[in-house]
């Protein structure tokens, strides 16, 4: 047989079993009464039931027949398995229920497991890849104005994660506390040998994904009038861009008192391409810069392969969904600058070249100028990290000097900003931070930590505040895994731990309307990339490169389908 044909026929049984398992998951989720909250114009609850009917039942039994052919059994068991497909079909049609097909799928899976436990992840990954590819094709055709008849695959995508939805607020909270588990874990992070992750084409693919998301938002049939997308785009950036154009540079400090650098860029853009187009360009700039920043920081902290993964995950993370929904482009810009500062810090730690210290301080100052609140968070994270370094890390004297330099920068910077911004009629950073602190202290006094009222606020932030933006469980689970396995690997591990500690404190103590902004302050793609690389490495060593590549593809396609679903829902509701 032709080797290509042989490879194709060999791939069919795991693919068939994978799709059957997803149909089973969809059926079981629906039977348990689960549905999936999704953004589709507004926050709606979608059923996870795939439309089957007679044709669907026939298709399912065909899948079972194909997957039975892949079972490594001889004699009677193999023949019985082949028979299970038509028998299950007959029983399902007679009893008018999918249960026999579900039972047959589980039986075939057990036989698959008998041939080696690694065959099940292979089958599941193949099934997820196929279903998510169909979902993405459907979503893009919908965005193009001619939806393909592939929407039947959509509920299978939802069934992949809907069972975790009821416990998402605890998952989010616990992922922020996951560094607490690090002392109990032995071993170290081990990355895969997949070389393609280190290539430049991965970065190009990530930028391509950013462009695709922007096209869905602004040039697709879902948003025919190309109306502004994102809360702040409409209520903040566009009206402010008009004011900036009318009054010129002096208005930057008055209107954009807490983000002067971002507003200076907005003014520059608005003067060149017009205020409306400038605001429309903000998500694309934020996405692309974030991809580059994640790639740069991950390369310095973890190496080329993790950098490639971080770049691929950057447009598919919570930062993207929440950022696009809220229109948090200035926060996003500031987060990217903080990541570049982390890269400069890592370069100094690795090479010892003092040249990188002023670069780090400059980037930190720029992060604060881009968004004072995000800059303050970055400042707190790096100060905490440097204190950790003084106690347990390398270059202790340098770290102590850097803490002093940071404090000098903070004093001089705040003083200058207070004078400049206060003088131009805007609210000074010190006053803004004091007002915010007062508000937080009042909330903390009124709402005890982890009380029912606290969980209500936290659940609201996770479920409703940026409608379903936080419901991709892979973001939180992978972040937790990264913090647990890599917590002490210098410099990336302690940086992640310090960042999570600051975010945990902020999100736990924030008033309701600030929780999701506090959650936004963490570079999730970095942590996700470390955990994904670690898991892919484990799978590669245990079950081979084929299964590892397939699992990685399945994860990326799932996240892409989740993000494109969110972007489509956002565009159609604009």
């Amino acid at each position: 047989m032709d080797p290509r044909l042989s490879r194709f026929t060999g791939a069919l049984p795991p693919l068939a079993l994978g799709v059957s398992l997803l149909l089973t998951l969809s059926y079981l989720s629906s039977t348990l009464g689960l549905a999936c909250p999704t953004l589709d114009r507004t926050l709606v609850t979608k059923t996870v039931l795939a439309p089957l009917g007679l044709a669907g039942a026939l298709f399912w039994s065909l899948l079972l027949l194909i997957s039975s052919a892949g079972v490594k059994a001889r004699g009677a068991p193999s023949a019985l398995l082949m028979l299970s497909a038509p028998l299950a079909l007959l029983a399902s049609l007679l009893a008018n229920t999918s249960l026999p097909l579900v039972a047959a799928t589980l039986i075939v899976s057990l036989f698959w497991l008998h041939g080696g436990i690694g065959r099940l992840p292979l089958a599941l990954s193949a099934g997820v890849c196929a279903i998510e590819a169909l979902v993405i094709a459907y979503l893009l055709s919908w965005a193009a104005g001619a939806p393909l008849l592939l929407s039947a695959a959509w509920p299978l995508h939802f069934s992949l994660y809907c069972f975790l939805t009821p416990v998402m607020p605890p998952i989010v909270a616990l992922s922020l506390l996951s560094p607490l588990l690090h002392p109990l874990v032995k071993g170290d992070v081990r990355f895969p040998s997949l070389r393609f992750l280190g290539s430049k084409s991965v970065l190009a693919a990530a930028i391509g994904a950013c462009l695709m998301l922007w096209l869905v938002l602004y040039t697709s049939s879902l948003n025919p009038g190309a109306k502004l997308v994102g809360v702040d785009s409409k209520i903040r950036y566009y009206p402010h861009a008009l004011v900036l154009l009318r009054e010129g540079t002096p208005a930057v400090l008055r209107v954009g008192y807490d983000r002067p650098l971002s507003y200076l860029i907005l003014l520059w853009l608005a003067a060149r391409i017009g205020p409306f187009e400038a605001v429309k360009a903000l998500p694309l700039i934020s996405l692309a810069l974030y991809v580059v920043a994640c790639h740069t920081a991950a390369r310095e902290l973890w190496g080329k392969r993790v950098a490639g993964l971080a770049a691929l995950l950057a447009p598919l993370s919570y930062t993207t969904t929440a950022g696009l929904f809220g229109g948090l482009f200035n926060n996003w810009f500031s987060l990217s600058l903080a990541l570049l500062a982390a890269a400069a810090l890592a370069r100094w730690q690795r090479t010892g070249r003092v040249f990188w210290i002023p670069i780090f301080l400059l980037l930190l100052a720029l992060a604060a100028a881009a968004h004072v609140y995000m800059g303050a968070v970055a400042f707190a994270v790096f100060t905490l990290l440097l204190f950790v370094q003084i106690v347990v890390g390398p270059r202790r004297r340098g770290a102590a000097a850097l803490v002093i330099a940071q404090l000098v920068l903070l004093t001089v910077g705040l003083n200058a900003a207070d004078t400049l911004i206060g003088g131009s009629g805007g609210q000074s950073p010190t006053r803004a931070l004091r007002t915010l602190t007062d508000h937080w202290l009042r909330t903390m006094a009124r709402r005890p930590l982890f009380s029912a009222a606290w969980w209500d606020d936290y659940s609201f932030a996770v479920f409703n505040y940026a409608a379903t933006a936080a419901l991709d469980p892979t973001v939180w689970l992978l972040t937790a895994i990264a913090a647990v396995i890599a917590g002490s690997r210098w410099l990336g591990g302690p940086l992640m731990t310090c960042w999570l500690a600051v975010i945990a404190a902020l999100s736990f103590l924030s008033p309701r309307e600030y929780i999701f902004r506090a959650l936004f302050d963490f570079p999730y793609p970095l942590a996700e990339a470390v955990a994904t690389a670690h898991i892919t490495g484990l799978i590669e060593r245990k079950w081979g490169a084929r299964t590892a590549t397939l699992w990685l593809t399945a994860l990326l396609l799932f996240k892409l389908a989740y993000t494109v679903t969110f972007a489509c829902g956002l565009a159609v509701g604009s």
Partner: protein
């Protein structure tokens, strides 16, 4: 470079117990708030994809009179993804022979459950029956006729 501190097993066990107690304390109030958000993840457990025709773009799940209004529950399936505009026409037949006709136009997302309420302009006791017709992009996709208690689904 790594900065790992080696700790004895007993200390690890104590740490684990303390952590478990802390997490239990942290999570103890969460179940109380889940009821409030349950509507976000609650579906229709009685549906089986072989039992109901999910190839039909719309299924009328339920219709009943509650107080002074008619409540309809619909499921927009994943079929016919190109069809977006939903037109629901409700005809209410009164005991004295008159008919009241109401129309609602709505865009309903794929795969969603929808509850629609129609106020009765007369006493609920006067309701003899009703007919519901649902059109997607001007095409009739579902129709039901029922008495005042229930539309057989």
């Amino acid at each position: 470079m790594r900065a790992r501190i080696t700790v004895p097993f007993t200390l690890k066990l104590l740490y684990l117990l303390a952590l478990a107690a802390f997490l239990a304390w942290l999570l103890r109030r969460y179940p109380q708030v889940t009821q409030k958000y349950e509507r976000l993840w609650r579906g229709e457990p009685q549906l089986d994809p072989l039992r109901v025709s999910l190839h039909n773009p719309l299924i009328l799940l339920e219709g009943k009179v509650e107080g002074s209004q008619l409540v309809l529950r619909l499921l927009r399936t994943y079929a016919a993804p190109y069809a977006e505009d939903l037109l629901i026409v409700v005809e209410l037949h009164q005991l004295r022979g008159e008919t009241v006709r109401m129309e609602v136009r709505k865009r309903v997302a794929l795969g969603t459950f929808v509850t629609l309420t129609f106020p009765l302009s007369f006493s609920a006791e006067q309701l003899a029956g009703y007919r519901v017709e649902v059109y997607l992009n001007e095409r009739l996709v579902a129709a039901r006729q029922g008495d005042r208690e229930w539309i057989p689904g």
